[in-house]
């Protein structure tokens, strides 16, 4: 099964990368771009019988390692098998 963990800076937490990209884009001539935030995405291939088992394992892994809950929120989604 393939799943994605999307990890974004929490609201109110400084995001120097996002800010820098935002500024660069404005300079490059993209005035329509208002706000940029940068996060991480972790693609995980996991052996599990069903989505709910997989979700449990990945939640666990996210809390333990993948995300830093002091500054980040995460969200787990599953990719449709093709």
């Amino acid at each position: 099964m393939k799943s994605l963990v999307k990890i974004m800076p929490k609201k109110g937490v400084l995001d120097p990368q996002g800010k820098a990209i935002e500024n660069s884009l404005k300079q490059l001539g993209f005035p329509q771009i208002k706000k940029v935030k940068q996060g991480k995405i972790i693609e995980i291939e996991i052996d599990a019988d069903n989505e709910s088992d997989a979700r449990e394992i990945i939640t666990n892994a996210s809390n333990k390692l993948l995300a830093n809950l002091v500054i980040e929120d995460y969200e787990i989604t599953f990719l449709k098998e093709d």
Binding site: L14, P16, L65, V70
Partner: protein
């Protein structure tokens, strides 16, 4: 005096800090591999600088989950002193031994240079040989040294006098211009409430040798060694 230096894969200031410790105590610390599941009784445990696990994911995140860190936490509870320098500081916040976290430098580049620090807490295990408000010159070398915590945490740290050092200039001024990496309140190092855990981004071990022109780290190491005795 029993000192242990933890070596993680990717640590690279482990030797440097061991050399400084030996210089002031005449005793070589034990070097402990991160996979160990037990720690010898130690008065001081050092988490050295470097790039544990390549700084991948988040600096210090994987090291914080190393087997040895369970033991380090236990020792901290029992009262051993823990010192985290640079990557070691990142590991301490990632493992919850210190509050807050260290994010990417505001300027987005790695910075290696001398910095002036103002000593804020001159009573601790680690800093008692300094005077309050003393200005010391100690270098930094990091990509993610921007200290961040939410308002309540910052207030708590400041109220309880847990800031060990702040970035400043030669005159001790603390402001945006004298802040190399964007740390909140120019925080360069903090102590926990119990006073036995200190994390700092600057490298005191790089300021212990006259020939390099920097020696303000000496009082840091002599403080520690005297505290242990």
């Amino acid at each position: 005096m029993r000192v242990s230096v933890i070596v993680f894969p990717g640590s690279n200031c482990d030797r440097d800090v061991a050399v400084s410790l030996k210089k002031f105590s005449n005793k070589s610390p034990l070097m402990i591999w991160h996979k160990e599941t037990s720690l010898p009784d130690s008065d001081l445990i050092v988490l050295p600088g470097g790039f544990s696990y390549g700084d991948y994911l988040r600096c210090g995140s994987m090291a914080a989950n190393s087997p040895i860190m369970k033991e380090v936490k236990k020792s901290a509870e029992k009262g051993s002193s823990i010192l985290g320098i640079c990557n070691g500081f990142q590991i301490l916040t990632e493992s919850g031994l210190l509050p807050g976290t260290l994010i990417r430098n505001q300027g987005l580049s790695f910075i290696c240079k001398n910095t002036s620090l103002r000593v804020e807490n001159d009573k601790s295990f680690f800093t008692h040989n300094y005077n309050k408000n003393e200005i010391v010159n100690i270098p930094i070398a990091h990509n993610e040294g921007n200290y961040f915590a939410d308002e309540n945490v910052i207030k708590d740290i400041e109220d309880k006098n847990l800031v060990a050092f702040r970035y400043c200039n030669k005159n001790g001024d603390i402001n945006e211009e004298t802040n190399p990496n964007g740390s909140l309140k120019n925080i360069a190092g903090i102590i926990n409430e119990k006073g036995n855990v200190l994390g700092m981004m600057p490298h005191p071990e790089r300021a212990t040798d006259d020939i390099t022109g920097l020696n303000d780290g000496e009082k840091f190491f002599t403080s520690i060694i005297e505290s242990i005795k």
